[in-house]
């Protein structure tokens, strides 16, 4: 009995240590580089980061929430396809969309060449605006990350009882007012959770902003580390970033403390679907098609063009082993994260332990640490363990797969957690009460009642994490064992030498492997629709 109660704490502590190691840099010395940063660049980093986060937030909310609302409340042309296809951009990492964007829209990019060819224009004519700027970055992040918002918001809308909306209608609210005054506020915890993930991913990204030469906090962190050779200041910058994110996280939590969003099951009524016709149907379809086109179809076309232009033998051993490594790591991490999230969230719900709840939030911000900085925290942690804890065992964990798993789990736990958390939010407290009255508590309650109820959330968690791990690059590069490649690493090694043509095939493979989890998600989405309608 003691053991399972302690377990979440022990696990949480192990996973938080590397994050804490990064944070402890705040208590170290501050070098003179700070005065240079403050005088010349910090303001730039901060203002462009804020601009980026605001733009991306607006972007993902408009795309994610509206498309989720459309597909759950209306029927229109292609709706059944859009319902799952809206998830597809999840398979495209922002850095790959950024690469394809410049390949398409640079002055001599394929899209501009096509326009010139179609309209018989001369070579100086540039149709598309420059994408290598903050606007381009906002577009890239919005169209690759909105599925996080879409996914959770959609299931929140599905779980909204129609009886509430009916009451609204009786009180004289129109369609727009029902959306803005009832559905939207009720879905808030869901889309805010999704939005937090998006913001964290945006702030920790390096590949895309670096490619677009947008100077954000992350590029500043790397410049300080690699250019000024000042890892300590780089870690202090990262810590600052983490503190800001942490603040947001708690503000958001605080703002809905004590508010319960769970439905009372006895009055639950599934949503009624309004049919759209003519122009309205066309508009709804167009609105749902645009994000799929920009975030998925367009990059796939460009990558395929590149891949076919090079006649490189790609199905070699390296590629196959890389694919195998990628899939195994992804699935395994997914399972661990989902199990961890369910055990910890169960403990929080069951024991109402505030401390554990805080630990859990802390674990979630691991998502916002730039992979390389996290890798530094992990390496320090592993080396410490090797030298102090495992001195008797003839096994060095530094440079083994242990570090890699640790990084993946810390980096993607937030995804599992948000999915499990929103799953728990939908299980009414009265179920727990009845179960406990009937003598089910502890492990029994978890295994027999919560787990079956949360099967979908659990699978979603596994799949989201898997698709994230498949895309992860910076931490993999530094923590992997000898001769150990993943697809992201293979892509990087080509892209780093600016050989996008050769990078295209492994990129496509990342996308294809990323689609597999999405197909499963899709199936669940379909079944949830059938169940709900």
């Amino acid at each position: 009995m003691v053991s399972w109660k302690m377990l979440p704490f022990i696990v949480a502590v192990v996973f938080i240590t590397p994050i804490l190691i990064v944070l402890t840099s705040l208590f170290g010395e501050y070098s003179d580089n700070w005065s240079h940063l403050i005088e010349f660049v910090l303001l730039d980093y901060i203002s462009s980061s804020i601009l980026l986060v605001l733009g991306v937030s607006l972007g993902v909310l408009v795309i994610g929430v509206l498309s989720a609302y459309l597909v759950t409340n209306y029927s229109f042309y292609g709706k059944n396809t859009f319902e799952w296809a809206l998830l597809l951009p999840l398979a495209i990492p922002p850095y790959i969309l950024a690469y394809t964007f410049t390949g398409l829209f640079d002055a001599n990019g394929d899209a501009n060449i096509l326009i010139r060819y179609l309209f018989n224009l001369n070579n100086d004519f540039v149709f598309f605006p420059n994408v290598r700027n903050i606007t381009g970055a906002i577009i890239v992040f919005s169209f690759t990350l909105y599925p996080y918002v879409y996914l959770v918001t959609r299931s929140a809308f599905l779980n909204q009882s129609n009886s509430i909306k009916e009451s609204g209608r009786l009180l004289g609210l129109g369609q727009i007012s029902i959306f803005s005054k009832i559905s939207l506020p009720l879905a808030r915890p869901a889309f805010i959770a999704g939005l937090m993930l998006v913001i964290m991913e945006t702030l920790s990204d390096f590949g895309a902003v670096d490619h677009f030469a947008v100077q954000t906090f992350t590029t500043g962190i790397f410049r300080t580390w690699y250019g000024l050779y000042d890892l300590n200041t780089a870690m202090q910058l990262s810590s600052l970033l983490l503190m800001i994110i942490f603040l947001f996280y708690f503000l958001e939590r605080f703002s809905r403390e004590g508010i319960s969003y769970t439905n009372d099951n006895s009055t639950f009524k599934t949503a009624s679907v309004t049919g759209l016709k003519g122009l309205k149907s066309l508009l709804a379809s167009t609105f749902c098609f645009i994000p799929i086109f920009i975030g998925f179809i367009l990059p796939i076309i460009e990558l395929s063009l590149w891949a076919f232009e090079t006649n490189v033998d790609i199905f070699n051993n390296k590629f196959l082993v890389g694919s195998f490594n990628t899939i195994t790591l992804g699935l395994f991490t997914g399972l661990i994260c989902a199990l961890l999230a369910i055990v910890i969230n169960f403990s929080i719900r069951f024991t109402k332990n505030k401390f554990l709840e805080r630990l859990n939030s802390l674990m979630s911000i691991g998502y916002a640490i730039p992979g390389l900085i996290l890798a530094v925290g992990i390496t320090r942690f592993l080396v410490f363990s090797d030298q102090n804890l495992f001195t008797n065992i003839n096994f060095v964990i530094t440079g083994s797969l242990v570090g890699l798993f640790l990084a993946y789990i810390i980096k993607s736990y937030a995804l599992a957690n948000s999915s499990i958390e929103s799953g728990y939010e939908r299980i009414s407290n009265s179920i727990d009460n009845s179960a406990q009255l009937l003598g089910s508590s502890g492990g029994k309650l978890l295994g027999r009642i919560h787990f079956p109820l949360m099967r979908t959330s659990f699978l979603t968690a596994v799949l989201l994490v898997t698709s994230e791990v498949v895309k992860e690059l910076p931490a993999t590069l530094i923590l992997r064992p000898f001769n150990f490649d993943t697809l992201a690493v293979i892509t990087y090694t080509y892209a780093a030498e600016e050989r996008m043509y050769q990078a295209a095939m492994p990129s496509l493979a990342i996308v294809i492997i990323g689609i597999i989890p999405i197909i499963f998600l899709t199936k669940m989405i379909r079944s949830s629709r059938i169940k709900n309608s």
Partner: protein, 338 residues
């Protein structure tokens, strides 16, 4: 039972000690390099284990692994990275005289901690349609600050280490104040906000977006080879390459280099590996695929041979690049070089 287990374990351990291998941390990612490593294994029976990544990240891993590090060789691009490892005291001297005899002094660590394996120059590409021979003749890095180039120059961002090394070399030669003035004028001459990689700069010149691009020499080789697609090939044919500072200090040269690590478990194999990399045959086949310039006296790739081959190199030691790198970055920050 227990004894056999211990024996087996012992045996396994002895095997791993006897196993002939060399462990390489590298930030070079050429497929052609990997083929050379395979050749090394076939030739010597020594297995080459690889971890590739960014130089700074690999250095961090080395530092934390400390005495336990399995790495024998650190192989990287940019002299600054080698200097960093050297400064941490993580190299030991290379002892192979055969290897060292091929490398001039300015391309080695002060105590032979590392050696250059290949060279690249940071050169100027121009569009002959928009730049006259007269204008380009005797061009120097310093003269890029001239008013006549206003709005005509493209170069990538200051986050790029090749730019950092170039500016560091100028600080070394002309002093920090002069270089800062120079950089300020250079930024005013930019045709656009720095963006994209070196190849993107060459493309911009080919397409007439700008008249001059500062970029590394080997990119034009890759583009001319056709491996990078038709579009880049035709763009590469439109531009010309000029080596700056031919009447003064010589063109800026940076290196790919390698060193043996202090705690290397396979020192002997590591020396053999460096010897191998500097052997004529390997040098030739390496630079023919990477379009770099060799250290040994061997023929270069046809693509690079289509330009001037007998250019004057800046003989200043590449050792300074790393040391002055932080100063270079801060200087570029101050003048608003994004």
């Amino acid at each position: 039972m227990k004894n056999t287990l211990i024996l087996t374990l012992l045996f396994a351990q002895t095997l791993s000690l006897l196993a002939k291998e060399v462990n390489v941390y590298t930030s070079r990612h050429y497929d052609s390099d990997e083929l050379l490593y395979q050749e090394f294994t076939e030739e010597t029976g020594i297995k080459v284990n690889i971890i590739s990544g960014k130089g700074g990240a690999l250095l961090e891993r080395l530092k934390f692994e400390g005495k336990n590090s399995p790495a024998d060789i650190f192989f990287t691009v940019d002299a600054g990275n080698l200097w960093k490892v050297q400064k941490e005291g993580l190299f030991q001297p290379i002892t192979s005289q055969l290897a060292l005899s091929k490398v001039s002094n300015n391309l080695r660590g002060p105590n032979n901690e590392w050696t250059a394996i290949a060279k690249r120059s940071r050169v100027i590409f121009y569009n002959p349609d928009n730049v006259s021979d007269d204008e380009i003749k005797n061009i120097s890095y310093e003269s890029l600050a001239d008013n006549k180039w206003k709005g005509r120059i493209v170069i990538r961002s200051s986050s790029n280490m090749y730019n950092q090394s170039l500016v560091a070399s100028l600080i070394d030669r002309n002093g920090e104040q002069n270089t800062e003035r120079w950089a300020k004028s250079l930024v005013e001459n930019f045709a656009r906000k720095p963006q994209g990689n070196d190849r993107a700069q060459i493309m911009a010149v080919a397409n007439g977006e700008a008249d001059l691009a500062i970029a590394n020499s080997y990119y034009i080789g890759v583009m001319l080879s056709g491996d990078a697609g038709e579009e880049q090939l035709s763009a590469a044919k439109k531009v010309k390459l000029v080596f700056p500072n031919q009447l003064s200090s010589g063109a800026h040269v940076n290196i790919s280099g390698a060193g043996i690590l202090k705690y290397a478990p396979n020192v002997e194999n590591a020396n053999l590996f460096i010897e191998f990399l500097l052997s004529d045959r390997v040098q030739e086949s390496m630079v023919k695929k990477s379009y770099e310039y060799p250290i040994a006296k061997v023929p270069i790739s046809d693509e690079m041979a289509s330009f001037e081959t007998d250019f004057k190199e800046d003989s200043a030691s590449v050792k300074k690049f790393g040391e002055l790198n932080p100063a270079a970055i801060k200087l570029m920050d101050r003048v608003g070089w994004k």
